[in-house]
Amino acid sequence: MQRKPESNKWVLGGLIALVLFLSVFFPSYGWRLRDYLSPQGHASSADAVSLAAQNEVLKAEIAKLQTVAAELPSAPANYMRAMVFSRYPLNFKNEMLIDAGDHEGVKAGAAVVFQGVLIGKIQTVFPDTALVTTVFDNNFKLPVRIGSKGYDGLLEGGSYPSVKSIARNAALAPNDIVYAASGGIPYALPVGEISATSTSPDSLFQEASLAFAYDANSIQTVFVAR
C-alpha cells in the first residue's frame, strides 16, 4: 500500500475549502458554469435565430389577441425586468432563478411574464434573487378563462400543461386564448392557446391541452409584476 504524501491532504483540504467558499459566497459562479456546460448555454447564434422566429410567432399572436383586446391588460407599467440566472437541473420541477429579489421589491406570488405572456409565479423570494415556478411545473395551478366568452377553467402545470374543469357546454375551439383570472395576477394575462380538447375521464367536464408560443428553456429575461 502506497502511503499518500502529506501535501496531498493539504491540497485536498484547500480544494474542499475553496469549493465550500464559492458555494456559500459566490453561488452564481456555479450557475454560470452550468450554463456554460449546458447545450443552450453558449449557442448565441442559434438563440438569435430562435428569437427571430419567436418574434414572428408573437407578432401573429398579437394580431390574434386583438380580437380579445378588451380583456387584455394595458401596457405593463408596473413590471420590472429580471434576468434568468439558473434553472432547476432535475426533472421533478420546473423552476428558474431570477436576479431580482426582496431588495428590488419582488413579492411571493407575483406574476412573471415573457413577451407579455404569463410563464409563472414567484415562489420564494431571496434578498437579491427569486425563485419562479413556471407553468411547466407539476405543482403549478391557476384559475384561468378561455376565449372571448370567458369560460372558466383551472390550469394545471406539468410537462404538458392543460386546462381542466371546463364546463361541458363550453364552446371551445383550437387557438382560443387562455388567460389568467386569479387573485394576485393581473387579470387577463395570456397564458397560451388551446391546441386540443377532450372530455374528462368522469365525463363531467371538458379538458384542453395548450400550445405555447415560446420555448421555456431558452428564456433569458422576464418581467416581474411589482
Partner: protein, 145 residues
C-alpha cells in the same frame, strides 16, 4: 493529487454535460448523482466530500439548501457507508447503490413520477447503471494497475 483524482473530476463534468444534453432532447438521466455514487466506491471519505461539494456547486440552482441538494449530498455518503459496512464486492455494491439512490430520489421528490412514467424511470435507471458501471470499471482499472 494523482491522475485518478483528476479523472474523477472530469467524470463529474462529463456527467453534467451529458445529463444537460440528454435533458435538452427530452431524455431524463440523473448521471451526476450516479457518478457521485460510483465515486463513493472508489475514493476515500474526504475525496468524496470534495466531489460532492463540486457537484453541488454545479447543480445547485438557488441560494438556499433544498431537499434535492440534501439528497445529492446524503446518497453518495450513504453509498460510502454501504461500501464500508457491507460484504458485497464493490462493483455489485455500486450497482445496488445506484438503483437504491435513484429509487430514493424519485421516492422523496415525486414518487408519482415512477407510477405515471414507468418507462422514463426505467430508462433513467438503465442509463444510470450503464454510466455508473462504466465509471467504476474505468477508474477501478486505473487504481488496480
Amino acid at each position: 493529487m494523482n491522475l485518478r483524482f483528476i479523472a474523477a473530476i472530469a467524470v463529474i463534468f462529463l456527467a453534467c454535460i451529458v445529463q444537460l444534453w440528454l435533458s435538452s432532447i427530452g431524455i431524463i438521466a440523473n448521471l451526476i448523482l450516479v457518478s457521485l455514487v460510483s465515486l463513493s466506491f472508489l475514493f476515500g471519505f474526504w475525496e468524496l466530500i470534495f466531489f460532492i461539494l463540486l457537484a453541488l456547486f454545479i447543480v445547485n440552482w438557488q441560494p438556499a439548501p433544498s431537499e434535492e441538494i440534501i439528497l445529492f449530498a446524503l446518497i453518495p455518503i450513504g453509498a460510502y457507508l454501504l461500501r464500508k459496512f457491507s460484504s458485497w464486492q464493490a462493483w455489485v455494491g455500486n450497482l445496488i447503490a445506484i438503483c437504491g439512490g435513484l429509487v430514493i430520489v424519485y421516492g422523496v421528490l415525486d414518487f408519482s413520477m415512477i407510477t405515471a412514467n414507468v418507462g422514463t424511470f426505467f430508462m433513467d435507471l438503465a442509463l444510470g447503471l450503464l454510466f455508473g458501471a462504466a465509471v467504476f470499471s474505468i477508474l477501478n482499472r486505473r487504481a488496480t494497475r
